[in-house]
């Protein structure tokens, strides 16, 4: 069967990344922001897999494994911090947590 050209995989990854970035900028609820971050991480992983598939090397998937590990840890710690945020401010509005200002 035919493989998928690298460019097309990367374009999809790029578009997913852009959508995730838009999500970070648009949403005000911390959970949505975290979710958008996950989208971006996933898009990065997609890029790696496409590259690895292009060259028939396992390195792409290996990188994807590591990305996955990082994403997992980040989600865990991030959600713990979200709970703390909720505890302090009684809201998930990220704009309220702006005490470190200038």
């Amino acid at each position: 069967m035919n493989g998928i050209p690298l460019e097309q995989g990367l374009i999809v990854a790029g578009l997913l990344f852009a959508l995730g970035a838009a999500g970070v900028l648009i949403r005000r609820d911390i959970l949505f922001i975290l979710l958008s971050l996950e989208i971006m991480i996933n898009a990065a992983g997609l890029a790696f897999i496409s590259a690895g598939a292009q060259w028939h090397q396992p390195d792409g998937q290996v990188m994807f494994v590591f990305i996955l590990a990082v994403a997992a840890v980040e989600v865990a710690v991030g959600l713990a911090l979200v709970l703390w945020l909720y505890h302090w401010f009684r809201t998930l509005d990220v704009d309220r947590a702006s005490r470190m200002r200038g």
Partner: protein, 176 residues
Amino acid sequence: MTYAFYIASIVALLATLRVITATHAVHALLYFIVSLLAVAVLFLLMGAPFAAALEVIIYAGAIMVLFVFVMMMLNPGPRAVQRERHWLTPRTWAGPAVLVAILAAELIFITAAGTSHTPGAAQVSPAEVGMALFGPYLLGVEMASVLLLAGLVGTYHLSWHLGRRRDNERKREIGP
């Protein structure tokens, strides 16, 4: 093959679009899971079955479940939905949309302007990935495990303190 690729890509993109525009948190989560599954299909089509499996099991299966648990704890109700609708005005997403559009355009341009590659057909089996992980990337694996340990300890520490505070509050509410 190509059709499968296009369909899966469109599903992923549309689902992601719905993630960032959803008003109810759980809806967003579910759409994201759909997106993840679509990306897993993409992985399969690219000849990376191991990655596809990992995507489904870990990403959609563990990380998203974690999200769901936290969502359960935070319990967004109809008030949250209304608030999200209130916040998601055109004024809010107009600017970022432009910025992100430029970003996407740049990425596509960079990709498309490069030399085109002929697609490879073969798969990369899980065995190969395993050999790579326990071969040259052994150090990375060990470091990933340390990272996971750190995350574990950190999260435990954070929630332990949170638990204590909650208990103190409840004790104060209940009264002496």
